[in-house]
Point group: C2
C-alpha cells in the first residue's frame, strides 16, 4: 500500500482505457468487467479528474457512450477522447480526402468529411469489413497516389471479446505498410498527439496523470513515453487496483 501511495503521489488526473478495462465487447454489446462500474463511480467522487481515452474505432463516440451507460457506467460523450474525431481534425487541417476502410458503426463520425477523389486512406478496426476486396481497394488507392498517406486509428494487435481474441486494426495496418512500402501515421494511443489532446481536455499536465489500460504498447508504453505514469491491468484484475488505490 505504501508503494502505491508513492507511485501515485502528485497524481491529479486518471486516464481510463475502455475496452478490456471497463468492459469486454461481444454479443449483445458486451459485458462490464466485474468491479469496474463501481470503481468509475468511486473515482468520480474522488478528488481526481477522470477522462476516458480509447482506441475504440468500431463505434462512434455516441454509440460507445450509449453502450457504456446501458452497462451502468457514469460517462458522457464530452469525457471521451477517441481516434475518429481526432482523425477528422487532422484531415481538415491538412486538406485530405480519405478513402475510408472503417466499420459501419463509426462511419457517422466522418459525415462532415469530403471523401470524393481520395488522396489518403484511413483504416480503423473494421472487423468483418477487413475483407480481401476492401483491403485490396485500400491498397490500390494508396498505390495510385504519388505520396501515399495512410492513417491508422490505433495499432492494437488484438482485443478480447466475450467469444475470444479478435484481430485489431494493427495487423491490417502492417499489411498495408508492407504492401505499399510506407509507414502509417497512427491516430490514437500510443501517439503523443493523442495523449496531449486528452490531457488538455482534462487541464492536467503529463507528470500529474496516470494512464490505466490493458495494452502494454498502446496504453502503458505510449503514456510513459509522453511523461505520464501508467498502469497495466489484466482483464478481471481491475478491482484489485482500485482497492490498492484506497478508492
Amino acid at each position: 500500500m505504501a508503494a502505491w501511495g508513492e507511485r501515485l503521489a502528485g497524481v491529479r488526473g486518471v486516464l481510463l482505457d475502455i475496452s478490456g478495462v471497463l468492459y469486454d465487447g461481444g454479443e449483445g454489446g458486451g459485458a462490464a468487467i466485474a468491479g469496474s462500474v463501481e470503481a468509475v463511480a468511486r473515482l468520480k467522487r474522488s478528488r481526481l479528474k477522470v477522462r476516458f481515452c480509447t482506441n475504440e474505432s468500431q463505434k462512434s463516440r455516441a454509440d460507445l457512450v450509449g453502450l457504456l451507460r446501458r452497462l451502468g457506467f457514469d460517462v458522457s460523450e464530452g469525457e471521451v477522447t477517441a481516434p475518429a474525431p481526432a482523425a477528422c481534425l487532422i484531415l481538415k487541417q491538412r486538406g485530405l480526402r480519405p478513402h475510408l476502410l472503417v466499420h459501419d458503426g463509426v462511419r457517422s463520425e466522418f459525415d462532415q468529411i469530403d471523401t470524393s477523389n481520395p488522396n489518403c486512406v484511413v483504416i480503423a478496426d473494421a472487423g468483418e469489413g477487413f475483407s480481401y476486396q476492401n483491403m485490396n481497394k485500400a491498397f490500390q488507392v494508396l498505390m495510385e497516389l504519388e505520396n501515399p498517406v495512410l492513417f491508422s486509428l490505433g495499432k492494437g494487435r488484438y482485443y478480447k471479446e466475450t467469444s475470444g481474441l479478435m484481430l485489431d486494426v494493427g495487423p491490417y495496418m502492417k499489411a498495408l505498410e508492407y504492401a505499399c512500402g510506407i509507414e502509417a501515421e497512427v491516430v490514437g494511443k500510443p501517439s503523443p498527439e493523442f495523449f496531449k489532446s486528452a490531457l488538455q481536455e482534462m487541464g492536467v499536465e503529463a507528470h500529474e496523470a496516470i494512464m490505466i489500460g490493458d495494452d502494454i504498447v498502446g496504453d502503458v508504453g505510449g503514456a510513459q513515453r509522453y511523461g505520464m505514469r501508467a498502469l497495466q491491468v489484466r482483464t478481471g484484475k481491475f478491482r484489485i487496483f482500485w482497492c490498492s488505490l484506497g478508492l
Copy 2:
C-alpha cells in the same frame, strides 16, 4: 550486347519465374505476356537447362501447368518448383499438422497431410479467402500454441492481374507476424532452401544459374544472396531481354 555476353558467361541453367514473366493472371485464366511463349520455346531449343521457379500458391502444380499449356507454353509438371509441395515436405519431416489458410485451388496439394488438431499454420495466397473470419481463425490457432509456427508460401507484396494490382500473401504474413509477435518461415522464393532444391532438380550449381523474375525481393534479391545471377524483367519487357540474349 557485349555486356550481356559477359554477364551470361558460364551460365548453364535458367530459372524462370512464371507470374508476371510468362503470363499475367486474371479473368479466364489470364494472358500470356507478348513474346514469352516463343522465348520459352527458343530457350528450350538452346544449350541451356530450364526450370520454372514460382511462388504461385493459388493453384496446384497440375492446374498451373494446364493453364500454361493452354496459353501455348511448352512446360511439364516435373519442370516446376512450387512452394506447396516444398511445404508438404517440411511438414512431413517435422511432424507438423497445419491449419491451412490457402486458396481452394491449391488445397489438393495437401491431400496427404494430416490437418487434425493443428500445431502450426500455413498461409498462401488465398485471395478472397483472406476474409476477416479466416484470418482471425488462423490467428486464434497460433495464439493457442505454446510455440506458434507460421509458414508463408512466399512473401510477395502484390502481383499484377489483367484487372489491376492484387495483394499477395506477404501483407497477410506480416499481419499475423505482428498480431502474434512471431516471425514466419517463408517457403518459396527468396528462401535459400527453395532455390537449392530448384537447382538440384536441374543439376546446376548456383554460380552457373540465372534467375529471371519480376520481383526485386523474391526473385532478384533472393537469387543473388544464394550466389546466382539474376535479372529483373518488367512485365512487357520480356522480349527485349531475349533478343539481347541472342536466342
